[in-house]
Symmetry: C2
DNA sequence: AGTTAGTTATGAATCGTTTCAAGCTTAAGT
DNA sequence: ACTTAAGCTTGAAACGATTCATAACTAACT
């Protein structure tokens, strides 16, 4: 069907080797020949077959990336940062969505291995390291994104979630709130448990302060709304006076849920703070306080680190890049 | 480096053909042999080389998709719908971001051709059909997404943007507003011009109503904010009393921009309506009126149509699926 | 014993690109 | 005229999975 180098070679009356040279090292070919070959290429509408090229090369020109939720603007931004950096090295990024599910994660990793990707960027869906170990034994370079594990041999680019959680909770406490609630996601996700740990620490530093924890099945707007409605449905005395949501999606949903049926006011009745500082946070019904993470820079740095690891697995460079979270105060948490 | 079928064959003491059969038609192989081969596969950590498989097969197991902005929740939802449907047929979706730029679009299309994708879903960045014609001559099946062109031989899945624009503007007029403004994006984008055309039509039906048009370089939150600030900066008599934004991202930004420095109130001073009804619309500072499009269903249907086209290019089925937009009224447009 | 049908396994050929040692041509130098 | 070098081009080999015609073997018949 489609034209091959052989067809081009015949049309231009040269050998296949020369066609390949025109494609890959035109400076090694006589100008007149280049022109003739290019003419044949255009005439036949020849397009390189990447599968054959990869087969010969033994590896692909792509890296795999798995995020928890591509619909979350935070991860969308991280992915964009990664793509931009990868593009500089003429690599493309295969993006997969685990939806916080380990099996989907495994499925994508299998796909990536079949594709012979150069490396993998991953925000693991679970603290179980089985999938990571498998990558390691397969000899595939890995960089953990927005996640860090005890095993220091794994490269990672992360933000200190414990500190971020502390920042958020301490801020609520400083506003005079004492009955805090943490609305999180599955405790299998490290970000969630770390942010919670930071919050716990902050609460323990203030006498009389309490922290209730509610676990939702996923970090989505819908779950946030459900949590909000559940709070509204409670007796007034059982309601928290401040809520720390594990991410902005939950927080946005919470605002909706809390206000439903003319329920509770934010921040008067309940102060609220989210996490990630996505674009929409500042545009929410009540502009949302949040904890900012440098999303694009994380993606950028992750690819950078991956490339280093590929080039020199044993090299002398920092294997764990850590950014610091930043508190962003808006109306949702301050009267 | 990595194990190949040949290595597996040696380890299991069978021929390479048998290994391939175990992989692809295990029912044709004696159970005992299957077991032996599987053991060898696990032992060696063998993973199929997809490049070799594709080379032999002559085509890939993927389809290409190009959207205007993957960070826009509307397109994220369309892409998700497409992926879900593709997954049912064991196809993966290569997602590319044109950022409304024709050159980036071309670059992705080249990449897709090298990958020998089975077909392409595309929301064109321009009304110029050069890229589409190139796909056609290359014999690559195409389905236009959220976009329709005069040439009826191209398949498309779209929503009637003229009707949507009419719905939005008519609604604003019905609220008693007369000095309308349309905040759009580059006029090269068909959605923008169609929505504007619908709005123009609605305005022409009401005597005394006017429509001012402002063109922003892209349909983003940031541009919306800029437009909002520009409106605030005007003399009061020159301000519109209602704004129709070409999408929700612009609208969200407009809310921010209009309210900046305690500027204008929405909807009292200026009524506002967006387009797409993304999740965040209902959670905006002022819950946003919008025009809803069935995003996931669009993605789903687009893949469905693409598969039909691939299976039978000449078949007897509807080549242009058209959904109808739906007005969603919230606080931003009604007092 | 001989034929047939059925089941299972084989291995060479193939896909399209890249690589690289070897060959050819021309120009320059002695 | 002869050598050397430099510049271009060649074509076979290789990458790894799949296919398919063919072979080998069994079992079940006459």
């Amino acid at each position: 069907m489609a034209a091959s180098v052989r067809d081009v070679a015949v049309a231009a009356a040269v050998s296949v080797g020369t066609v390949s040279n025109v494609l890959n090292r035109p400076e090694k070919v006589a100008p007149a020949t280049v022109e003739r070959v290019m003419a044949a290429i255009n005439e036949l509408g020849f397009v390189r077959n990447d599968a054959a090229r990869q087969l010969r090369a033994g590896r692909s020109r792509s890296i795999g990336m798995i995020v928890l939720d591509a619909g979350n603007p935070f991860f969308a931004a991280v992915a964009r940062g990664a793509e931009e950096r990868a593009d500089e090295d003429h690599l493309s990024v295969l993006l997969g969505n685990s939806d916080e599910d380990v099996d989907r994660e495994s499925a994508y990793l299998d796909l990536f291995r079949e594709q012979r990707v150069n490396g993998v960027l991953i925000t693991p869906a679970s603290s179980a390291t089985a999938n990571l170990e498998r990558l390691r034994t397969a000899g595939i370079p890995v960089v953990l994104v927005d996640h860090e594990i005890a095993d220091t041999s794994f490269c990672s680019v992360s933000v200190d979630d414990v500190e971020g959680g502390h920042l958020a909770a301490a801020h609520l406490l400083q506003q005079g709130r004492r009955r805090l609630m943490f609305v999180g996601g599955p405790s299998s996700i490290a970000q969630v448990t770390n942010r919670l740990e930071g919050a716990r620490r902050a609460v323990s530093e203030v006498s009389g302060a309490t922290l209730e924890v509610i676990e939702m099945p996923a970090l989505t707007v819908l779950n946030g709304r459900a949590a909000g409605e559940a709070i509204v449905a409670r007796e007034a005395s059982l309601r928290p006076d401040a809520v720390f949501a594990a991410n902005d999606l939950l927080a946005v949903g919470l605002v909706q849920g809390l206000r439903i049926f003319g329920g509770l006011r934010v921040p008067e009745d309940i102060a609220l703070i989210g996490y990630d500082d996505i674009d929409f946070a500042s545009a929410a019904v009540v502009p949302l306080s949040s904890v900012r993470q440098p999303a694009e820079e994380i993606g950028h740095t992750a690819v950078e680190l991956l490339l280093k690891t590929i080039a020199d697995p044993e090299g002398d460079y920092e294997r764990r890049v850590r950014f610091r979270p930043e508190l962003v105060v808006r109306e949702s948490s301050s009267v």
